[in-house]
């Protein structure tokens, strides 16, 4: 089963592409460190999102060429960035006012686990070591939409979409949509609602690798993504 899924599942770039299709023109967007940052590369033609980084920049652009970095100009992942016309700098309290104050349209984050009630676990596996949270617990509150991009299952084949998270929570009831390597799933009224799935995958096979019931309301769309 997991070999069959590995053969058809979307790559991280393809998951990021799918998530990018839902970002409206003019949206203010925060992308989590790492995998979610890829969403910026796949802005649909003719739409412009304004990206926020919690260390204090709105309207940043791509990474500079190697050798042209300015280390006062970095993103939350401490990588060098560039500015687009109309960008702005601000201090951390203003930056998190944008986050918690409901001014961001979309936050897109990674996940270890997502529960059917919208609980998110993405900051600690709970196994010890040095704990580090950064802005994750702030970002899950305030954005009008909090979306997750993730593999549908772990490397060991365990479901990441669950009836309840077993790892330490980042936030309670905060996720509104999950883009996985197999499906697009909304969270509504404490339930997973399947919106799209890979056409090559049957509903039953998808349900078998999902740790809570997938509900269907109306038609389930085909999750079709370019090769990239």
């Amino acid at each position: 089963m997991s070999d069959a899924i590995n053969a058809i599942k979307l790559s991280n770039a393809q998951i990021a592409w799918r998530a990018a299709q839902d970002i409206e023109d003019g949206a203010y967007v925060n992308l989590g460190i790492g995998f979610p940052e890829m969403v910026a590369k796949f802005q649909p033609e003719g739409r412009e999102a304004i990206f926020h980084t919690e260390n204090g920049v709105l309207g940043f652009g791509e990474a500079p060429k190697e050798g042209e970095e300015d280390w006062d100009l970095i993103n939350a992942g401490k990588k060098a960035i560039t500015l687009k016309p109309g960008s702005a700098f601000f201090h951390h309290a203003d930056s998190f006012s944008m986050v918690r104050g409901g001014h961001l349209d979309v936050a897109i984050l990674g996940a270890y686990q997502v529960a059917q009630n919208g609980d998110l676990a993405n900051w600690s596996t709970g196994k010890g070591g040095v704990p580090a949270v950064g802005g994750a617990m702030d970002l899950v509150h305030g954005a009008k939409r909090v979306a997750v991009v993730t593999d549908h299952i772990t490397k060991k084949g365990d479901p990441k979409l669950l009836d309840a998270c077993t790892m330490p929570l980042t936030g309670v009831g905060c996720v509104t949509r999950v883009y996985t390597s197999l499906a697009v799933v909304d969270i509504e009224d404490g339930q997973f609602v399947l919106r799209e799935k890979l056409p090559a995958l049957s509903f039953d096979d998808l349900q078998a690798v999902t740790g809570a019931p997938l509900n269907v309301q109306g038609t389930v769309g085909d999750l079709i993504v370019p090769a990239l």
Partner: protein
């Protein structure tokens, strides 16, 4: 009025053992490397350090930790490309950690500077980091009570400064610096250039001088990221 200080050594001379110090910067951006290194030369011990991170490599805060000057870190993200200085001591139980979500850290510092002892935030509700904190419901949502954060000293980095203590910052190097300037009993800023009063347009002042006690010029300041790429070690 003249708040200028001649050298970075003079600027940190009063910081004693056991002090609580806010240090500006997010990673290396906006980090006052020269003031930190001057503090390492003086070597006060048993310090509580408030910063977003817990050092990277063998310079700046990481070097303070390597010199065993730091008893406790208050930060949101004690990981970095090279976090060994903090990690080793933390796992051996030789350094304390108070982990604070990044936005809560910023707001606690702002509250400290603004004279607001506590506030409610949605951040961390229902998580391990809210344990033991009062929770209250407002308009149907639950919020966690957090308390102000203050310090004996803040050492920060700015771009322009004048003898009145007015400051501007450079790009994303602003980050925690203006907040920390407000929240410490004594705030020392290193600036790339000291200009005469009036040369900073009042419309452009980010930190008004009332929040700043001392200004020291460090022309061409070092960047933590560049030092780490050169594998620098301090001292």
């Amino acid at each position: 009025m003249d708040k200028t200080i001649a050298t970075v050594a003079d600027a940190v001379a009063e910081i004693p053992d056991g002090a609580t110090i806010m240090i500006g910067g997010f990673g290396g951006s906006g980090a006052p490397i020269e003031l930190i290194h001057a503090l390492i030369d003086k070597r006060p011990r048993d310090l509580t350090v408030i910063n977003n991170n817990a050092g990277n490599g063998h310079v700046g805060i990481a070097a303070m930790i390597e010199q065993d000057m730091v008893r406790k870190m208050v930060c949101s993200f004690p990981r970095s490309a090279d976090p060994r200085a903090f990690t080793e001591r933390y796992l051996e139980g030789r350094i304390e950690l108070e982990l604070v979500p990044q936005g809560t850290l910023a707001e606690r510092i702002r509250a400290g500077g603004a004279g607001i002892p506590a506030f409610y935030t949605p951040t961390s509700f229902g998580t391990d980091l809210a344990k033991g904190k009062p929770v209250e419901e407002f308009e149907g949502r639950s919020y966690v009570q957090e308390r102000w954060l203050k310090a004996d000293f803040a050492i920060i980095k700015a771009q322009l400064g004048d003898p009145m203590g007015n400051l501007t910052y450079r790009m994303a190097g602003r980050n925690f610096n203006p907040l920390m300037a407000m929240a410490a009993t004594r705030t020392i800023a290193q600036v790339s250039q000291i200009v005469a009063p009036g040369e900073i347009d009042p419309e452009q002042v980010v930190t008004p001088g009332i929040f700043v006690n001392g200004v020291v010029q460090v022309a061409n300041p070092q960047q933590e990221e560049s030092l780490n790429r050169q594998e620098a070690v301090y001292p």
